[in-house]
């Protein structure tokens, strides 16, 4: 079955209930079982450079994702559910279905609950909902913060969370989440794809992740601020052909990577008043890793932020805009890999100005038309949407891209 047939089939299966305004609820033994799904399809066209591993310079429809979930409350405090997700994004995803989340959730009190299984990770405003296109104004969230090619690196962990909301009298309320578990990246994600340029075939990538999030719903109605922190201990195994990068023999040898230090700190704020919503986030990601089976070390200091605004003009129309900045400072002991010293160099940063119009054709069907005006491509030592394999002619310093995306959900 080719990709086009797969896309059409997915859309019919996942979109039809939405088109029919159907609710897929049913009852088993007196308990209501809810079934929900979504499917999205995008088209991207850029003037120069291919982006997110799609052939955007020629126009690409290789941007599809879908999910279906089932959930049921067992008691008024205990619920279970699971979601399966599938996507194709250029050379990533590969239509490989995966268990997106599978959770058992027990809420002892409003201020204390636990959930375990494969759990969506809370990090910043939108990490756990980054792939739920229909929830957002934008066709692509700021890629400096929520890169689509690196989705699996932060989207979920297998382990457990404690969570709750604590009212603080006249000062609003505090919501907290603390978690620990294992992260396992998809072999079809951006980092394994990036490494293929060095002759590396990654077979397993992941490890321990521990994190916390605290957000304050302030007494000012609609104003929220928060902070997230995450520490990881990542190991990776795979295969390497040393002749491709290191000038060695044309053989296959075992390959490994591991963390020296892997830490993310993020702060954010959101203000919603009437039909206007303002968001801003700042993230610093420090990644110190031994690569090539410990032979070399690479330290990456990624600093990114964005500011966004969205305004709903009517029930059917919303406008949005954001400015996103991504700066990647790195130090590598790999011979020949030296970063441009000047942050203004295009291989040292990626800035993106975006404008969007979202049309809600029905409650379950939306279409977005979005323009991206990108400055820079942030180098090739860290995944940032521009891959040398997809741009063999070299990467131009600026990229303008039109993105049209439609989605159904119910």
């Amino acid at each position: 079955m080719n990709a086009t047939t797969t896309r059409i089939g997915l859309m019919l299966v996942c979109a039809l209930p939405g088109l029919l305004h159907a609710q897929f609820d049913f009852t088993i033994d007196g308990r209501q079982v809810q079934v929900h799904s979504f499917v999205t399809q995008g088209f991207a066209y850029s003037d120069d450079n291919n982006y997110l591993t799609m052939k955007t310079s020629q126009g690409s429809f290789a941007m599809t994702d879908a999910a279906v979930n089932v959930s049921v409350p067992i008691t008024d405090k205990f619920r279970v559910g699971a979601q399966v997700y599938v996507n194709n994004l250029g050379n990533l995803g590969a239509w490989h279905p995966s268990l997106d989340w599978a959770v058992a959730d027990y809420k002892f009190k409003d201020w204390f609950g636990i959930r375990g299984g494969k759990v969506k990770t809370v990090l910043g405003l939108y990490n756990d909902t980054q792939d739920l296109e229909f929830l957002h104004t934008f066709a692509l969230l700021p890629q400096s913060m929520y890169p689509s090619d690196m989705r699996s690196s932060t989207i979920a962990h297998t382990g457990g969370d404690i969570y709750g909301e604590i009212p603080i009298k006249h000062l609003g309320s505090l919501s907290y989440t603390a978690y620990a578990g294992q992260r396992k990246d998809s072999e079809y994600g951006g980092y394994p794809y990036l490494l293929t340029q060095f002759g590396i075939s990654m077979e397993d990538y992941g490890g321990l992740v521990v994190g916390q999030d605290l957000r304050w719903k302030t007494p000012l109605n609609g104003f929220l601020v928060g902070a997230s922190h995450m520490d990881e201990n990542i190991t990776a195994t795979g295969k390497l052909n040393p002749s491709i990068t290191l000038g060695g023999p044309n053989i296959i040898v075992p390959y490994g990577e591991w963390s020296n230090k892997d830490q993310t700190n993020q702060v954010y704020g959101q203000y919603t008043v009437g039909n206007l919503r303002l968001d801003s986030e700042y993230r610093r990601y420090w990644r110190d890793q031994q690569i090539f089976s410990g032979q070399y070390e690479i330290t990456t200091d990624v600093r990114s932020w964005y500011v966004a605004a969205a305004y709903r003009v009517s029930k059917r129309l919303e406008f949005g805009t954001y400015y996103s900045r991504f700066v990647d400072n790195w130090i590598s002991t790999v011979p020949g890999q030296v970063e441009s010293p000047n942050q203004s160099a295009p291989d040292h940063h990626l800035y993106d100005k975006v404008v969007t119009a979202r049309f809600d054709l029905t409650k379950f069907w939306n279409v977005k038309v979005e323009g991206h005006f990108m400055d820079g491509w942030a180098g090739t030592m860290y995944p940032d949407g521009f891959y040398p394999q997809d741009n063999p002619q070299g990467i131009q310093p600026k990229t303008n891209m039109l993105l049209i995306r439609t989605g159904f959900n119910f």
Binding site: N69, D105, K120, L132, N275, A309, Y311, K315, K363
Partner: protein
């Protein structure tokens, strides 16, 4: 950044949609199993945003919403501080991350009253002129 400033100014100058129903035209109703005769605004918001499953008197509650209409929009704006679209987005974010379910919703005041009357712990809202026989009226303090 200049274009962002222009966008914000334009958005601020646009008039917000007027809500034709005032909060005083909305009655909060609950099943007779709910012990409290009044709730705080914060409690009510917590119940309908799925962060609270019980009231301060210990009563377990289940929120019920109207699907649409002026009463629904006024309730969501006045008591939850959201638009209908934002509320829908909020609930879907819970559903698709495994953190909650879509609440029960009904089409009319009559269906609301009937469901709340027969369902233990149910709490909902109707227009001031709706028939509330069989349900308990709740004050918002």
């Amino acid at each position: 950044m200049r274009y962002l400033q222009h966008f914000l100014i334009a958005a601020a100058l646009c008039s917000l949609s007027a809500v034709s129903v005032r909060a005083a035209d909305i009655k909060l109703i609950a099943n007779s199993s709910v012990g409290a005769s009044s709730v705080s605004a914060d409690e009510l918001k917590g119940v309908f945003l799925a962060t609270k499953t019980s009231l301060s008197d210990g009563s377990r509650v289940e929120p019920v919403l109207l699907k649409s209409g002026a009463t629904h929009e006024a309730f969501v704006k006045q008591y939850l501080g959201k638009t209908d679209a934002a509320l829908e987005t909020y609930y879907r974010s819970l559903v698709f991350t495994g953190k909650g379910s879509m609440p029960k919703s009904v089409a009319t005041d009559a269906e609301m009253a009937a469901y709340v009357a027969k369902t233990k712990g149910a709490i909902g809202y109707v227009s001031s002129g709706a028939n509330t026989e069989g349900v308990k009226l709740i004050d918002v303090k």
